[in-house]
Amino acid sequence: MKSFANVNARDLKDAALRLKEPNAIAIGGGSDLLGMVKDHLVQPDVLVNLKTIHGLDQISAKSSEVNIGGLVTLDTLSHDPMIRSNYRVLAEAAESVATPQIRNVGTLAGNVCQRPWCWYYRNNFPCFKNGGTKCFSVAGENQFHAIFGGGPSFIVHPSDTAPALVALDARFRIAGPSRERTIPAAEFFALPKVNAAKENVLAKDEILASVHLPRAGKNTRSTYHKVMDREAWTHAVVSVAAVLEMDGQVCKRARIVLGGVAPIPWRLDKVEAMLEGQRITPELAAKAGEGAVAGANPLAKNGYKVPLTKAVVRRTLEGLAQV
């Protein structure tokens, strides 16, 4: 790997200022970034170490919301009793990531900002993500690529926690050198047609500092269902993050977000509307499954994701309704 310097950030502002330097990259847990440096996917001169920033590894509950620092590890998140009981979808998503070793060092912000695992990108093909002007998956091996929202790049967003956070209506606090901004999770992610080189709206000198969850509704049920090609250490082929606020048997409010099928966490707002105000019967769950894949646009080798998505959405809703 190329030689680089490490600088320990004092605070968020210091980190953001240092990120302004040419070829500076922020590092949290580093479980993916260091591998990317070794594979020459990124060649930083400076790594800005965020782990030295005080307080970013805390989960704190306030009256109106829960704040999760960007440096909270996936392991901590998955075991936190409050998260587990109030935001089960997030605990389950965090728990489904990779391996125990990676969850011990990998952070929430790192997971949300993780670069794609498209094999063309990871093998240094000159694709959009590597500064090129082509998506090699289109005419190539696209069995794990996007069926929604693709073009010109067809990567799928690799994060498990991202669909959960979008489903929870989280807000992301973004720190820059001169100001902070807080935006809805859904607005953090960007489709390739907006910017094919990146997956989100973070500027080069910005940091995803923390995540804020609204107070969980009393009768809210949530879950994360991840379909994997082996039992551990792999990304979602298809996943669904589902959050249902119930009033007795009736669904008052629904958030259904897919992972593994689109370049961003893929929110199914039409399906949500289909569910709200209804009893979740097996028939409705099946209808929701059908609705989930409306507009799917599979490539040559990923058509199986359509029936798979249908089934996962249906079964996840059936499961949640039975709780």
Binding site: W119, N123, G140, Q143, R230, A232, Y304, P307, L308, A311
Partner: protein, 701 residues
């Protein structure tokens, strides 16, 4: 079978504590004073001529000590290709990953940076990945003379096995079944990455290798570097697995030696996991076309196979497609084409010719049994081999017992459905089985045993122990023959300066070859002790044995039957192993503890080959996409089912205490057993390995 004192008793590895406590020094752990580190630059192209290499910028980098390219190194790696000359650095480069240059520098980082500063001008050439395409007119020529690699007689003809007349056999059939199957390039995926350390002391070279055979490694390094054998020493004290891709000497051993020679310092050359996947070798991918004739009563009349094996651009392995030998059948014709392609090189991986061939054949035999409404277990009992190639008697055969006892332990009748695919969606269960055999060779090896006045027996054997517990096996055999407790045995291994010749730990031969030599050396030592008494004071008694036993007029084989139950989630295309029984005839089992582990490992590897693994290429560029543990989706602990191991211990009059071979048979029928179980569950047959989710959902759609 008579009970013995040491052999046959479950015994922990004699080096277990060292291995699990981190005290064991693996090759990668070795650091020598002044040692340099080396890295290899590899071709990004599937096929290209190198027009120009400019190493000046790399050379100028501070800390770079030596750079090898084809221009200053014309060493031929003898075992890298059995047909053509394969240099350490070839021009043209013939696969994405072919070595272009090697750099030694003061640290790893500098060596790697230097490889990136080497400027190479490539003229890309047309390439071909598929073995059948490679035989078509106009296909790019990968080596002079054509892409069909010559057979063992040096003729450009496929490898052919013939018995009876295939036409007659097909005419005699009431039904003829025809189908085709494919299998993928699979990496050996051994835990220990690849590393070699070379050190010269005057004109004498020591290579600390990670090898499955110090003796062949030694011989071949001497041959390829044109050194006198006495000037080469190979050491491998602890070895972290190879499954066939650490046989012999490797190009990186030779590169390390050449870099060490140029720099006058010890050199450690290491591969990344990705390099390990693309640049060494894996199991050959195959395409198999079968035609099988059968009578109404289920008796086989003819088996025909036309097969193609993709060998990569260098012929390192046989390319064989085995399996037919497990069936009794009067008319057989097997035509296999080992074909050069621009994929990664293919050669030995645990049962090199077998699991892919058994997958194809046992899939078709399963279909035949269903269509004749015969229970697959009965079909195999009816048609299984009785004599090798229907001709030569076996020294012992426990195949029928493997099938019967395995089926019973598995509760076959309960788990298997006569009508495949019955059962309610979405979670459908099904059962499948398959069988196999593997040559249990006897042959040349050596052992030296000495005893001192303290009553310690020092057993010198040239084994490295690739994970099979070979050191412990040798100790158990020595203890048994000498009639002393295991604690009195000290094994000296893994160093050509201290150990006699041992057969390479490939072909599942160590127990049968070297174990036999240990028996003979121990007998000789006992004879000396009986004659002279135990040594006193500083005396020692030494016995040697150089053995090369043969089996007159008989075939010696191990046998196996595996049974798998799967649950297929038909909504998600997900396969879960529910139950697995492995029944093995390996003659007498020397160490049931480690033998059971081997079976579990082999079966797990086979399940991974059935469900997950396969090196996938970008067709446009010829570049592999999923090299490495993550991309290959190698089995994790959570994927591995409980595997029940059942021993059918036949009495075999040959080999050490009647032990037959084990390591490789463990994977042979596992792929097919899983594939057949999936068919029984869903009623649809997937004929291309691996049987991934997309294919399952595809056949169910």
């Amino acid at each position: 079978m008579t009970t013995l004192n040491s052999v046959g008793h479950p015994s922990p590895r004699i080096d277990a504590l060292k291995r699990v406590s981190g005290a064991a020094t693996y090759t990668g752990d070795i650091r020598l004073p002044g040692m340099l580190y080396a890295r290899v630059l590899r071709s990004p192209h599937a096929h290209a001529r190198i027009r120009r290499i400019d190493v000046s910028k790399a050379r100028a980098l501070d800390g770079v000590k030596a750079i090898l390219t084809r221009e200053n190194c014309d060493v031929v790696w003898g075992s890298g290709d059995t047909r053509n000359k394969r240099y350490l650095f070839n021009n043209p480069v013939r696969f994405a990953g072919d070595a272009v240059a090697a750099v030694a520098a003061v640290d790893r980082h500098t060596a790697e940076e230097a490889t990136r500063l080497i400027e190479v001008e490539y003229e890309t050439l047309p390439f071909v990945l598929d073995p059948e395409d490679a035989l078509k007119d106009g296909a790019p020529e990968i080596q002079p003379g054509g892409n069909l690699s010559p057979n063992n007689q040096g003729q450009r003809q496929p490898e052919v096995l013939r018995r009876g007349s295939i036409e007659e056999g097909l005419r005699a059939a009431d039904h003829v079944f025809e189908d085709h199957y494919t299998s993928s390039h699979i990496n050996n995926a051994q835990l220990e990455p690849r590393v070699s350390i070379a050190q010269w002391e005057g004109g004498r070279l020591t290579v600390y290798a990670s090898t499955q055979g110090i003796s062949n490694c030694h011989t071949e390094i001497a041959r390829d570097l044109e050194l006198d054998a006495k000037n080469v020493r190979v050491v491998c004290q602890f070895m972290g697995g190879g499954f066939g891709n650490k046989n012999q000497c490797h190009d990186f051993d030779l590169m390390a030696a050449m870099l060490a020679k140029q720099t006058g310092a010890p050199v450690k050359l290491e591969f990344t996991r990705k390099e390990d996947y693309v640049a060494v070798h894996g199991r050959w991918p195959t395409k198999q076309y079968y035609k099988v004739g059968v009578r109404n009563n289920g008796t086989l009349t003819a088996i025909q196979l036309r097969g193609y094996s993709g060998m990569g651009p260098y012929r390192k392995g046989t390319g064989g497609i085995a399996g037919i030998e497990i069936y009794q059948c009067p008319h057989v014709e097997r035509t296999v084409h080992p074909v050069l392609t621009n994929m990664a090189v293919s050669a030995n991986l645990r049962g090199p010719d077998y699991p892919q061939g058994v997958f194809g054949l046992e899939s078709l035999m399963d279909d035949i049994a269903y269509s004749l409404k015969i229970d697959p277990v009965e079909f195999r009992l009816k048609n299984m081999t009785r004599k090798f190639n229907d001709q030569t008697p076996y020294t012992s055969i426990g195949l029928e017992d493997c099938i019967r006892r395995g089926a019973e332990a598995f509760e076959w009748k309960k788990r298997w459905h006569a009508i495949p695919g019955v059962g309610d969606r979405p979670a459908k269960r099904g059962a499948g089985m398959a069988m196999g055999s593997f040559f249990s060779s006897l042959g040349r090896s050596s052992a030296v045993i000495d005893v001192d006045s303290r009553g310690m027996y020092h057993v010198h054997v040239g084994v490295t122990d690739i994970g099979t517990a070979a050191k412990t096996t040798m100790a158990l055999i020595a203890a048994e023959t000498l009639g002393v407790p295991l604690e009195k045995i000290d094994v000296i291994w893994g160093d050509t300066d201290r150990c006699p010749y041992s057969v390479g730990e490939s072909g599942s031969r160590t127990t049968t070859h070297t174990g036999y030599a240990v028996v003979e050396a121990a007998k000789e030592l006992k004879r000396q002790i009986a004659e002279k008494g135990m040594p006193r004071d500083n005396d020692v008694l030494t016995a040697t044995a150089n053995t090369n036993p043969t089996v007159p007029g008989m075939a010696r084989y191990s046998f196996v039957a595996h049974f798998a139950e799967v649950e297929v989630d038909t909504d998600l295309g997900h396969v879960r192993l529910v139950k697995y029984v492995a029944a093995h005839d390996s003659g007498r089992v020397v160490n049931p503890l480690t033998a059971t582990s081997q079976v579990k490992g082999g079966a797990t590897m086979g399940i991974g080959m059935a469900l997950h693994e396969g090196l996938l290429y970008d067709r446009a560029s010829g570049v592999p996409l999923n090299a490495g543990y993550y991309g290959a989706r190698v089995m994790t602990h959570r994927d591995a089912p409980e595997i029940e191991v059942l021993w059918v211990e036949t009495e075999d009059a040959y080999g050490p205490y009647g032990a037959k071979t084990l390591g490789e048979p463990t994977i042979i029928p596992s792929v097919a057993a899983v594939a057949n179980a999936i068919y029984n569950a869903i009623g649809k047959r997937v004929k291309d390995l691996p049987i991934t989710r997309d294919k399952i959902l595809g056949v169910l759609a």
